[in-house]
């Protein structure tokens, strides 16, 4: 899995940090997302997928070859 974040779209909701703190953080100065690990370990996939799917600004992109992206809900 490769993770990318769009810092321009990010609205600083902090959901990704609450769900997957090993992978995401927020800049202390403006609350905007910081990517700590763009190729997280497999044990974190579930949390990273959840973080991406609930991001209110759709600012987290995942590329997962051979894996169908789960939809909302």
């Amino acid at each position: 899995m490769r993770v990318a974040v769009d810092r321009d779209k990010c609205c600083g909701a902090g959901q990704c940090v609450m769900i997957a703190p090993e992978v995401f953080d927020q800049d202390e100065d403006d609350g905007i997302v910081l990517l700590l690990d763009d190729t997280p370990q497999a044990r974190l996939y579930r949390a990273v997928r959840e973080a991406a799917s609930v991001c209110p600004a759709a600012a987290i992109q995942l590329s997962e070859p051979d894996v169908v992206q789960p939809g909302v809900g």
């Binding site: 779209k9 609205c11 600083g12 909701a13 902090g14 959901q15 940090v17 609450m18 703190p21 953080d25 927020q26 800049d27 202390e28 100065d29 403006d30 609350g31 905007i32 997928r49 959840e50 799917s53 609930v54 209110p56 600004a57 759709a58 789960p70 909302v72 809900g73």
Partner: protein, 400 residues
Amino acid sequence: MSGTPDYPFRNPTALEPPEEWASLREGCPVAPIRLASGDEALLLTRYDDVKQVLSDPRFTRHLDAANAARTTANASGGPFATRRSGMAASVGEGHQRWRRLVGRAFTAKRVAAMVPRMAAMSEQLIDAMVAQGPPADLVSGLGFPLPVWVICDLLGVPNGDRFRFAYWSDTLMNLSKYEQKEVDAAQAEFNEYFAAHIAAKQAQPGDDLISDLLALVEEDDLMTEAVVLGTGQSLLVAGHETTANMIGKMVAMLLADRRQWERLLADPSLVRSAVEETLRFDANPGFGMPRYITEEIEVGGTTLPPGTTVVCSMASANRDGQAFEDAGDMDVSRSPNAHLSFGAGPYSCVGQALARTELQTVLSVLLRRLPSLELAVPARELARREGLLVGGLQQVPVRW
């Protein structure tokens, strides 16, 4: 009388959604409604449409435009139309910069650092409820005092003044409960109070958000004293009412079907997902989010002309079967749960990490301290707070 339905709709009981939501999602996703002012707007009830509109900056917050629908019967047209000079910086082009200056106070980490104090405050409030003995009202005993204390702490405002905030906040969230002159008088008092608070923080800065924002006035041309005033007032009102009401509704929902409460007792690791699910399942969230457009835009297969006001029902969207499996069932382990209760896109709630953390903290403490908690009245007898933009319950009587 025309066939356009009056909005907000009525809930059959406080915890059950208005019947109109399901039928409009099904048959009329862009529905004409009549507001308390008599003005017409279009109500959006589907998940995809609500998310699209909230994420699209062409759907503006300029509800003070001459032909925008007025949300309330009052002369000023309601709080969405109130042009607070101090908040001008928070809309339009300056919004993102404003958001980032304020957002730093609400990061997940900063909020997580407040958990021990939130938990201690929850314990103290529960101690007082226990000392009085059951039954108790969870709204006045815990739901309201906790978030007010938290937001006062964040803004450096004395918690002892919280009874005044409760009234000011209610009048600013007015839909039909107060007369215009009451709203104006409250706004004037609130302005005076907050201006004095700002002067005090200028004289003696503290470890709080107002002092931090005032420090930026010198270095950032976006941040003026008027902006600090508008920002502080908005945060005080928003931080006060919404989470306070949600604590009562969350606990009522979990106790109304006590199997949900028991699931949490058996597995407290579900607290986070349970909080999200009660936010999704809230049938009584208040007015929704209005937006105004100045150009033609298509939503849900309908072309909306310039000058249209739409109202997004996030709560209806949250029960859209196209977006959520078994949308009409509450499942405290639901994941992922991309509900729209905090909005979506660049204007989504700036305090959402704070609200989530308060809800998680108070729920964890309640489960630990009062595992035998139950409603002291049948759920259908719970009464809504009426006439405000935010939805809530008047009381949540509980025993243990």
